[in-house]
């Protein structure tokens, strides 16, 4: 009888011992005091002077200024602009509405603009002021104006706007 009790208590001890080890294992490693930045940057085109916005029109042979307000909680990284044709309607914008697409057509000399700009210094708010020339000989029609922005941690935000080149 005595032996049996002793045996049981050994088992019990072992059982709680196991859980103690597990608690120790978890306890020893859960020191996550460091906070990380998990907020992506923001592209704001709601200001009155923001350009282009959804359904804006730009003219061939003229220069327009890309104006948007970029912000991040910690530090902005870079901004990229991509203007490409959407004559085939393959893609749509990221916005709520479309702007009445022209019929599908075959591109001959579509406008293509790809450029990126590093945002120097530790800025949390940056207003773009980028001059973009639209050559006179490009195809008019439906285009996408894509804005991509990163912050220093590599988070990104994207807006794809539908614009028209006339």
């Amino acid at each position: 009888m005595k032996l049996k009790t002793a045996n049981l208590s050994v088992k019990g001890n072992a059982f709680f011992g196991f859980f103690a080890i597990i608690l120790l294992l978890f306890g020893a490693c859960s020191k996550d005091a460091e906070t990380i930045d998990d907020e992506p940057p923001v592209i704001d085109i709601s200001a009155a002077d923001a350009f282009p916005v959804q359904c804006s029109t730009v003219k061939r042979g003229e220069t327009f200024t890309f104006k948007a307000k970029l912000s991040d909680n910690v530090r902005l990284g870079a901004v990229s602009v991509d203007i490409h044709h959407n004559f085939d309607h393959h893609t749509h914008s990221t916005e709520v509405n479309d702007c009445g697409l022209e019929p599908v057509k075959v591109p001959v000399n579509p406008f293509l603009f790809i450029k990126s700009y590093a945002i120097a210094g530790a800025q949390t708010i940056y207003e773009t002021d980028i001059q973009i020339d639209v050559p006179a000989d490009v195809d008019p029609g439906d285009y996408h104006f894509m804005i991509m922005v990163t912050d220093e941690e590599g988070w990104s935000a994207m807006r794809g706007l539908s614009i028209k080149i006339v």
Partner: protein
């Protein structure tokens, strides 16, 4: 209690003494196998457990194991149509003769579910191991093998639509999990987030899941875990037998089935299987999804263009006698499935809804199709104390991704007629793999040694107008030695050492179209990958212990594992337009190294079983695709630079399994998993790793009536799965809200004429809950997972002779 009863009633253990068969190295165990009426049984599989020796009873029911060292053994006798019988033996100083009486299994035509209790294999393996069989797959049948295994704690999946998914073991996936099939590493395109696993779940026998690093046995890539899919057991006994499995699913309107037929003639075994599945678009409990701010209405809640088809066939033929066994297998899996049409990756796509919504079963663009051909030979030979095994395999993986041509970046506005590539073939990957594994296991005293060598050669070519991964070939050679030292009946030590050599040659790739390269330079065709050769050497080790006092099982394992970087990580410089990512490889990467400690604690009594398996893992250099703050408007065509980088990483977590049989045939189960990962260095210091599954708890209530005639083998069970919120993310992931879903499973046997059909019913996501799965392929575009799905499956075994 029942076991003892069975033992008393059905085992007649007759020990007779004879000094005739005395051998220098040990003693013989011989005997006969009969059924309860005394009729001798041929072809009964006999496994001498601690040795791993396998034999079969001859035509007169007799069997013989020679030269067994004095020790305790567990002899398992197995035959189709009979219950497994286990006999404890103790070889002392003389030969033993026994009689084994097999009890026919009236209802249990298939083996008993292994999920109950802790099998011996688990008690003797120091790695963290879960074993399930095809009954388990049948009970929890999902859209793919991995979905069916997802219920196991520590296992999650990266789901791609309703028919495909890839494994995540404790948050490790892609090239960090090795899938083994027929004793060989399955080689597909593991690196791709939208690539499934080319395995037919209906052809799977027993499946072993190793959670945690196991490089010493399985080589590079087994740094996160192993899924070892054993072939289905070939029919035994002089007969021609098979089964028909029919499946229907309500959510995707899936119908299909799997048929197998096999037999044994003399010493020859043969088996064939055909699986065919056809499914429509899966449905999600929402009428519209938002691709960014753009609302996409879903026709009848169907996720547009996610239909698919699967067609697989398998042929196995083998020869088996007392010492020699050789099985040749040929299998082919084919899968074609569509991708959600309204967003390809993160890229919004305009669709012709009229065309797409006309049928929910057609597969339009974009879509993927994969054909995987596998030819394997598994040969084993028993020579004295040696068990020699040789596996040879050839695999051919052919994958195509189709998508309409869109002139991303600097690509020409219209697809040139001069191109030989089809305008809808975006990517094509072709892989040929030759592998040879040789292994010898032998017993020396209390040591069971295993020495082995693995070699593999693979050749990879690419096609299509999109580029992500260069062409490459790769040779690997590995040598390992493993010692299992049974110190005492309940104390086993393990030690292993492995050396690997890998040579990788990646080949040059140049764009087929010119890009701008600077302000005042002429456009040129960019060099996306250079010719390069890398050689890697790795030495890894593992040590473990099993201690099984009474009702407890204690296992501890620690070891070093490695993974050789893949060609994409080393050499690529391609733009993944669907993710707006310019992915840059790094030719200087070293093999990933990881150290892991695994603890497994189990306690099991008549009504209780508890298992806890915590782990700690440290990577010196985890390789991951790091999104940077930069854009590249030449090579990257204006996209964000994602650069392969290394960082040290600490991970810990564990799984919990509790089972309690609280009243008669009623039992409850709690399955839990937790994982935490943190990068300790590099530019993402403090962040977690991509695809970290949230903590989860599964509560189950089961009713498994036994003893009442007609109900034997039936079950009714409900799972309540609670997934936690995942706030630990790394760019470009999004935080994912927690959720809970209810799943029901029921099954019973149905007598139909002379046949006994096994009926399995499931209600997955019973309450039609709308939720996002953090590790799903479609998570980033906020596409909810499938709604309610009723799965009905009927399995009818038959005998032709």
């Amino acid at each position: 209690m029942r076991e003892i009863f069975t033992l008393k009633l059905f085992f007649l253990l007759m020990l007779t003494c004879s000094s005739r068969s005395l051998y220098a190295q040990g003693y013989a165990v011989s005997g006969t196998v009969t059924d309860v009426t005394g009729r001798t049984l041929a072809g009964v599989l006999l496994v001498m457990d601690s040795l791993g020796q396998v034999g079969k009873s001859k035509a007169d029911g007799s069997f013989l194991f020679e030269r067994l060292p004095p020790e305790k053994y567990l002899l398992t006798a197995r035959s189709v149509g009979f219950k497994d019988q286990q006999i404890k033996l103790q070889v002392k100083d003389q030969a033993i003769s026994i009689r084994i009486v097999m009890e026919a299994s009236v209802q249990h035509i298939e083996e008993v579910l292994i999920e109950d209790g802790i099998p011996k294999r688990k008690r003797e393996e120091s790695l963290n191991l879960d074993i399930v069989n095809h009954q388990y797959v049948q009970k929890y049948l999902g859209g793919s093998l991995m979905k069916s295994l997802e219920r196991l704690p520590g296992i999650s999946t990266i789901g791609i639509g309703s028919g495909q998914s890839k494994p995540l073991i404790r948050g490790m996936g892609f090239n960090r999990v090795v899938v083994f099939e027929h004793g060989l590493k399955h080689e597909g395109q593991q690196w791709g987030v939208d690539h499934g696993l080319e395995i037919d779940q209906f052809a799977a026998g027993e499946i072993e899941v190793i959670k945690g690093a196991a490089s010493f046995m399985y080589g590079s890539d087994a740094i996160g875990g192993v899924i070892d899919v054993k072939p289905e057991l070939l029919p035994q006994g002089e007969r021609l037998a098979g089964s028909v499995n029919m499946i229907g699913k309500s959510n995707s309107n899936l119908y299909g089935g799997s048929v197998n037929l096999g037999g044994e003639t003399g010493k020859w075994l043969y088996n064939a299987r055909l699986t065919s599945l056809n499914y429509g678009d899966y449905r999600t409990p929402t009428d519209s999804v938002y691709v960014y701010s753009y609302a996409v209405p879903l026709h009848k809640q169907q996720v547009r263009n996610t239909a698919g088809r699967e067609l697989n066939y398998h042929f196995n033929a083998g020869f088996q006698d007392d010492r020699f066994r050789s099985v040749l297998s040929l299998s082919s899996t084919f899968n074609k499935s569509g991708f959600f049409a309204n967003a390809h990756g993160l890229e919004p796509r305009r669709v012709d809804t009229g065309l797409h919504d006309k049928s929910s079963r057609d597969i339009l663009l974009p879509n993927q199709q994969v054909r995987h051909l596998k030819l394997t030979n598994q040969t084993s030979y028993q020579m004295g104390i040696h068990d020699i095994a040789m596996n040879f395999g050839f695999q051919h993986n052919f994958r195509q991704e189709h998508s309409q041509y869109v002139n991303h970046g600097y690509m020409p506005p219209t697809y040139p007629d001069t191109m030989s590539t089809s305008p809808i073939l975006e990517r094509q990957y072709e892989k040929e793999v030759y592998a040879l594994n040789v292994k010898d296991s032998f017993i020396l005293g209390k040591h069971r040694w295993t020495v082995g060598a693995n070699t593999e050669y693979q050749q990879n070519t690419i096609g299509g107008w999109g580029f992500l991964v260069p062409e490459f070939n790769q040779s690997t050679f590995g040598l390992f030695v493993y010692d299992k030292y049974t110190l005492r009946d309940n104390l086993i030590l393990h030690g292993a050492l492995r050396y690997d050599y890998t040579r990788l040659n990646a080949f040059e790739y140049r764009d087929w179209f010119p890009s701008e390269t600077g302000e005042n330079t002429d456009p040129e065709r960019l060099l996306r990958a250079e010719d390069m050769t890398r050689r890697f050497n790795s030495l890894v080790w593992s040590a473990g212990v099993n201690y099984n006092p009474d009702d407890f099982t204690v296992k501890l394992n620690m070891g070093k594992s490695f993974r050789v970087p893949i060609a994409k990580e080393l050499a690529a410089s391609g733009v993944n337009y669907h993710y707006f990512a310019y992915e840059q490889g790094d030719a200087t990467l070293s093999p990933e190294e990881s150290y892991q400690v695994d603890l497994g604690l189990g306690w099991s009594r008549e009504r209780w079983s508890v298992q806890v398996s915590p782990f700690y893992n440290y990577f010196t250099n985890y390789i991951f695709l790091n999104p940077t703050a930069r854009f590249d408007h030449f090579y990257g065509a204006g996209n964000q630079v994602f650069q392969y980088a290394e960082s040290s990483v600490a991970r810990y977590g564990g799984e919990l399994q509790i089972k309690y049989n609280f009243w008669r045939d009623m039992s409850t189960e709690v399955l839990g998993e937790y994982l935490h990962a943190r990068q300790l260095s590099g530019s993402k210091k403090g962040f977690t790793l991509p695809f970290s599954p949230p903590p989860s708890v599964l509560l189950n209530l089961s009713w498994t009536p036994s003893g009442s005639p007609g109900l034997d083998g039936s079950y009714l069970s409900v799972d309540y799965l609670i997934k936690g919120t995942q706030n630990n993310i790394v760019p470009p992931e999004k935080k994912t809200e927690g959720y809970s879903v209810v799943n029901l499973q029921a099954g019973f046997y149905l007598r139909m004429g002379g046949h006994t059909a096994q009926v399995s019913i499931q209600a997955q996501n019973l309450l039609n809950k709308k939720y996002l799965d953090h590790t799903s392929f479609y998570r980033l575009i906020e596409l909810p997972e499938a709604g309610r799905n009723i799965v009905l499956s009927l399995k009818v075994p038959f005998n032709l002779i």
